[in-house]
Point group: C2
Chain length 469, copies 2
């Protein structure tokens, strides 16, 4: 925020978007060639010892089920808790979709604090590079993934766990930090978190930045190449990358921006969602054992415990609860081009943990197994088109895992699938809208519009991991 009386700058810095675009099309890095990346990651793995074991709840240190509620809490009252949620959804004009239950109860993570997810960027040889970290998270299927420069809960930076300082944090919290490229509170998973947001930041460093162990500089194009592979780029990186500004090469869209905002307002007004916390012990349909809290039909997810030891984390060993989904998820965008302008089909989604009723999600977002017991009218729209898509129409496909600090092996298959009029009509069905990537980039400048799964898909577009045609 450097501005003086005499210089009142333009409100818009379009040059930043152009520089981001140049980095996204740079497949070569100035500091680490992509072919060297695997060896570097393996070396970081070898340099640190990681071990994650499942443990019964009784073996969790400092965690217990509170008397009177059975909520799973830490004795300090910090970090997070697992509580119960009761959700009722009703709708006015066009009813609740067939695949949304009118009411349900579930465990949910409560963590009423805002963390920082920050990527530091810097120009090398005229191209922006991102400072990425090889970071272990206990829930990652392969433990070590590429995380943002900084991934800090408020507990982290206020030192609740008495660990080491968070490297590079000063670039995000100090008033003299560099130039801010993006800074927005984005929602986490609305099905697993109660109204949780994190601060997604991209900051350009102004001076020299010393390179520490476990960190490397990569162009957006290099990160895009890694995003084409499974389980390399972690969720925190993906959500931050979704907030990148990029030029809108088209400037056109089926709905004007005003019409799109009106559609979102209509969807948000349409639903009435009452979500209230309640004691975990009072949840219908869920039971607690010694090793997990689970749904009595084995669906949705479990709450489990793990013990972790790690060499490069702020503290060397700890135990914690994690959410373990039952089955792999799917998150897919159906895409079409109208008059030469690529669009994706977004869906207005109700999730129990959202702060504000609905957010825009992928065309299809679900865990297929959770619908196996239901009649076909309760299956999500477009699911079958996505599952049976002609491989020639698949523009992007990779498996990514959700935040490994809270979720155990929470993998989803992310897809972008090209459709035609028969598969996805020009007139979007109720609850869906065709929007352009440029419009999504305008929306993610603000919170509570685009959900975390859709932000992963947007990150794939932003880094050229996926291309629409």
């Amino acid at each position: 925020m450097t501005s003086t009386l005499l210089t009142v700058p333009s409100r818009h810095h379009d040059v930043v978007a152009e520089r981001v675009g140049r980095s996204a099309s740079s497949a070569q890095g100035a500091l680490m060639a992509t072919p060297r990346f695997d060896a570097w990651l393996a070396q970081r793995h070898a340099a640190n010892e990681f071990r994650v074991d499942r443990v019964p709840f009784a073996a969790l240190d400092g965690w217990s089920f509170a008397s009177g509620t059975d909520n799973l809490v830490h004795h300090t009252g910090r970090f997070f808790s697992v509580e119960g949620l009761d959700v009722t959804v009703s709708a006015d004009t066009h009813g609740v979709p067939g695949d949304v239950a009118p009411s349900w109860q579930q465990p949910i993570i409560r963590q009423p604090e805002i963390g920082i997810l920050g990527i530091l960027v810097k120009d090398f040889d005229g191209v922006l590079h991102c400072l990425m970290q090889a970071k272990m998270e206990p829930g990652n299927p392969n433990l070590l993934q590429l995380s943002p420069t900084v991934q800090a809960t408020r507990s982290n930076y206020t030192k609740v766990h008495r660990g080491a300082d968070v490297p590079y944090l000063e670039h995000f919290v100090r008033p003299d930090r560099g130039r801010v490229i993006a800074d927005v509170l984005q929602s986490e998973h609305g099905s697993w978190f109660f109204r949780k947001s994190n601060r997604n930041m991209i900051v350009e460093a102004t001076g020299d930045v010393p390179l520490r162990d476990d960190f490397c500089w990569l162009t957006l194009g290099q990160i895009g190449e890694l995003l084409r592979r499974d389980n390399i780029v972690n969720m925190d990186s993906r959500t931050v990358l979704s907030c990148l500004p990029l030029p809108d090469d088209y400037g056109r869209a089926r709905l004007t921006d005003t019409e799109l905002l009106s559609w979102i307002t209509g969807e948000r007004s349409h639903y009435s969602v009452h979500a209230r916390l309640k004691p975990l012990m009072t949840l219908d349909g869920w039971r607690r054992g010694e090793e997990c809290v689970e749904h009595e039909d084995g669906r949705y997810f479990k709450v489990v415990g793990v013990s972790v030891s790690a060499g490069n984390r702020e503290v060397k060993s700890w135990t914690q609860p994690l959410i373990e989904p039952v089955g792999q998820g799917i998150a897919a965008w159906v895409t079409r081009s109208f008059a030469g302008v690529p669009h994706v089909l977004v869906r207005a989604r109700v999730e129990g943990g959202f702060l504000d009723t609905i957010e825009l999600g992928p065309t299809v977002q679900c865990t297929v197994g959770n619908y196996a017991h239901l009649p076909s009218e309760n299956r999500p729209a477009f699911l079958d088109q996505v599952l049976r898509a002609d491989p020639a129409r698949i523009r992007y496909e990779a498996v990514h895992s959700e935040e490994g600090g809270r979720f155990l092996h929470a993998e989803s298959r992310y897809l972008v699938i090209e459709a035609d009029e028969e598969q996805a009509p020009t007139e979007a069905p109720q609850g869906f809208a065709w929007v352009t990537p440029g419009q999504l980039r305008s929306l993610v400048r603000h919170g509570h519009y685009v959900n975390v799964q859709a932000r992963t898909l947007l990150a794939c577009l932003n880094t050229a991991a996926a291309a629409l045609s």
Copy 2:
């Protein structure tokens, strides 16, 4: 939302903003000359009989204090309720401002439904006119004020009170409504409402619109002229008018849009606000009598009951609770021009009923009497500059009342005051930022950024009632 496969329009309809600007500078209406307005309003008053009397709670029909909570509720469970709220505010980096209590309890209105506030506009003689309604609300000091075309709670249009249809509602809810100019969920008063939003809509009619009794067509410039007078244009009109698109003649600002959004994100992250509903009977410092619920020191506001009879309302007579503030409020923007670009000083405000921690409010917003018992360091910043402002620096001043359907004689003095470096420094103090009207107009396209008092001031700029220099 009319678009076909072959026409993918530009995302932006700048021509609408220009037409809005033309209407704002049109002091003459094509259908009703401004000098005729007073006679018309007096005639509407005469044509309908209105009477509002204070009544004790026992005389409220259908309303009672629920057993076990003392919450004031309607026997149907609809309309709204008056409950209790417990608020705790903490802050990280730069502390809680001196004029914000770290914790408090208060009664609050709970109305978890989204109403529609809609203004229908139409071109006459090449100038946009707004269809405004002379509407009685029991809490208005002068009962009859100018309201939007439609002002409908969900209870209204789902016919809870078995009254008449809401005229012109079809222009806002039908899929074949006209062209949408603005459509956004905006917060109501965060000090009096618990997380209440209304849908603010401006729609351009495409066909003929029959003119009904109690309605008139006015240009924005005419409405601006009425906004210079006290208590003519009601709060619902003002919030809708704040959402008007207008061209940004400058395109420049002290903070770029990215810096402004980053500042808002920082303020939002900085605060931790825990607000939870609790039974009205358990509130510390509040007592219930037969005629009101009030604070034991006589500050803030009272909950009272009224009986109403009206000729042109959907139902002819009713009783209801209202919130009656103690003392007149003040809501003032301090303005300065930097390098020829006018700016206003906004404040990041915490209010207990906000959905998302902070919204941008006026430079000063308070009821002076509520601070009389406190030491000077607990008085709001800039309050004394505003109270003692040289009349030559006052760019706008009028008294307006807040929503007369919920608030009894809730008047505030709205002011725009020009300042210099000594009164309001170029480097805005912590918690404040200099922003341009153009930036505020970009923010009000989205919800939860600009609070209802600041939106009244913005409506005054949009309609040329106030001009910055």
